[in-house]
Amino acid sequence: MSERTRAHTIGLTAAALGLAAVTLLPFATFRSSRIQTGEALSAFEALGPWGVAALLAVWLAVGAVSLGGVPRVPAAAFRGALGTLALLGTVALSAFAVSRLTDPSTPHARVSLGIGAWACIGVAYSLVLASRREDGLPRLAGAALSLAAPLGVAVMLATGVLNDLAIMREYANQSDRFWAEVAAQLRFAGIAVAIALVLGTSLGVLAFRRPRLRGPVFAVANVFQTIPGLAMVGLLFAPLSWLGSNVPLLGRMGVGGLGWAPVITALTLYALLAIVRNTYAGLASVPAAAVDAGLGMGMTEWQVTRRVRFPLAMPVIFGGMRTAAVQTLGNATLGAFVAAGTLGLFVFGGLSQQAMDLILLGSVALVLLALALDGVLRALQGLGSPRHLRGREGAPR
């Protein structure tokens, strides 16, 4: 069952990258105030000899376990565990670095993760993800592996261990606003995707049933993609403003050139393409012979649509929705351009104040949200994955 293998390329590469990140790249940045450019510190300067040794040890262990001659499945499990350890270790050691580098006499000083630390985290989690896909690894073990690191970080956040890191200090200054803006980001994205789903699938079905309309429908959906976010909300300002002032019902709902209306409109338009295109492709992928057979055997048109077309097209359509959802979540930052908040507020606010860690607060939160959303949707897709596709074209797990 467990065979011995040759050297594991991914593991060795990860080990090499991890070691390089720790030794060659700046591990942390020290700023005397949040708006200073700050100075880059190596891992040795930031963590001291023991801290560096600990990190190096973990990466060397990854390398050791990836050399040939080790049973495959246990090696993969080990690698995943080591990756988790590397990730959590890097994060924890960063917190340690803060206490090492600052003291009460410099209350404004900020310590943040440097590119080396981020690289370590990235390589470590990639290693975890690669390890969990190893054939023969029990599903439960794989799930535990991929969740362990995020959970560990969540625990660290919750217990306040990381509170002195620069990014968390920015968060502390803005915590209420932060969660309100996260909620806004999710809310805008959710509503826009829901609307785009309804609109997009209808348009996709229309394009499929009337081939003559396909060109125009796709062209329109495409056009919206080419308009950059800022320009889009700029274009929407005048018409939405007019609507808000002249149509009392809309005005009461808060329609106007600023606020939720341009955001949701723009996001919906952007999400359309992926959904329209995938609806069309999904419907087109239904074998014509199956549809003909269905009709010929005595299904009504509606039964064919419901029992044959829809289930067969669904996986592709769901894929389109997943793309649209993640994309829209990211796009929702343009709320910041029209006084509608969202995480864009922190990104652009940080830019205007030249406070790097505020920018990071917004960006990192956004990336994590997007990863989480994608993970959830992928799991849903896997859950509902029709058995006729599993094991065939690599249906999502």
Binding site: S32, S33, R34, I35, Q36, T37, H108, R169, E170, N173, Q174, R177, A183, A184, L186, R187, A189, G190, I191, V193, A194, F237, S241, G244, S245, R252, M253, G254, G256, G257, L258, G259, W260, F310, P311, M314, F318, M321, A325, A336, F337, V338, A339, L345, F348, G349, L351, S352, Q353, Q354, A355, L358, V376, L377, L380, L383, G384, S385, P386, R387
Partner: protein, 321 residues
């Protein structure tokens, strides 16, 4: 069939879950419920001081029983002007000196000259904006947040630079100059006035143009000496100056237009709620140059939230409970 049903349900759940967040918070978006005193929508430009002043106004009005819809960080000057004229927002902090640019074509020479003095410039702007756009200029903060050129302390001491006249002498002596500033500063407002008043000219390779009017970037550039920058655009009330170790060269000849931060409001809104003017008057009078600098510093250098800083200022001044 089972898997299809599962999938359909799963998709619906997912969509509903996300979309359900929608239902929850209509509150923040739509106009407020009927409070006894009504709703005021406040905007601001995307900068520290704008956020600060709009926070101050918001807290004062809320304390007086109004519901305030906070649309601060609305956008650039252009966007915010559009917004208030269209009625998207009711009030935002503007600078008295900007009236010079809004109404440039209609100004007489005398009026133009008047902008170098705070009071006359303010009055001209208030009159013209009321006539043209139905916007009322309330009590200003008499703190001149005007264009300035900043240098590092060491550099100032080394070269003996204290005033803009010193700067002109330095430039004309052919010494190395790299000035980081916005496009606007170089072409329309700021530098042209300086050049005219102090008698110097900057060549193209002495200028480092940065997009947007963001002094945080230009100040950082001087402080770090990026790309050989030794002079940087700054505003009079910027909070980052001390922390970055910068000083401003004094405008000894008074060449610049005076920019007083002033809350401006739509006339129809003010007519409906006239007490707004009285509520804000003492508050704005208490905002002097140094006060503004310190408050700005807390936001920018300490990273505190604008609302917290505004609240402190108001509570300490006894303006709110």
């Amino acid at each position: 069939m089972n898997s299809n049903a599962t999938r359909a349900i799963a998709v619906c759940l997912a969509a509903a879950l996300i979309g359900a967040l929608a239902g929850c918070s209509g509150g923040a978006e739509g106009p407020g419920t009927d409070e006894p005193k009504g709703t005021i929508t406040i905007g601001s430009k995307i900068d520290t001081e704008g956020e600060l002043v709009s926070s101050i106004v918001k807290l004062v009005l809320e304390d007086a029983g109004y519901t305030v819809e906070d649309k601060s960080q609305t956008g650039t000057t252009e966007v915010v002007r559009k917004a208030i004229i269209a009625g998207e927002i009711d009030l935002y902090p503007e600078y008295s000196g900007n009236g010079y640019w809004f109404f440039l074509d209609e100004l007489t020479d005398d009026e133009k000259a008047g902008y170098n003095v705070g009071e006359t410039g303010y009055e001209t702007t208030a009159r013209l904006d009321l006539e043209a756009n139905g916007i009322v200029w309330l009590e200003p903060a008499r703190a001149n947040n005007t264009w300035a050129i900043a240098v590092t302390e060491e550099f100032a001491q080394a070269e003996g630079l204290v005033t803009m006249s010193d700067f002109a002498a330095y430039v004309n002596a052919g010494k190395p100059v790299k000035l980081a500033a916005s496009d606007e500063f170089f072409t329309s407002a700021g530098n042209p006035e300086f050049e005219e008043a102090y008698g110097y000219t900057l060549t193209e390779d002495q200028k480092v143009r940065l997009a947007g009017g963001n002094t945080a970037a230009t100040e950082k550039a001087v402080a770090d000496g990026t790309d050989g920058v030794n002079f940087g655009m700054a505003y009079g009330t910027d909070g980052a100056l001390a922390d970055l170790g910068l000083v401003i060269l004094e405008d000894d000849l008074g060449a610049q237009i005076v920019y007083w931060p002033t809350p401006i409001v739509r006339k129809d809104v003010l007519d409906a709620h006239p007490e707004i003017a009285d509520l804000l008057k003492p508050v704005m009078q208490a905002l002097g140059l140094e006060e503004l600098q310190q408050l700005n510093a807390r936001i920018q250098v300490n990273g505190e939230a604008a609302d917290d800083v505004a609240r402190d200022f108001l509570e300490n001044g006894g303006f709110i409970e």
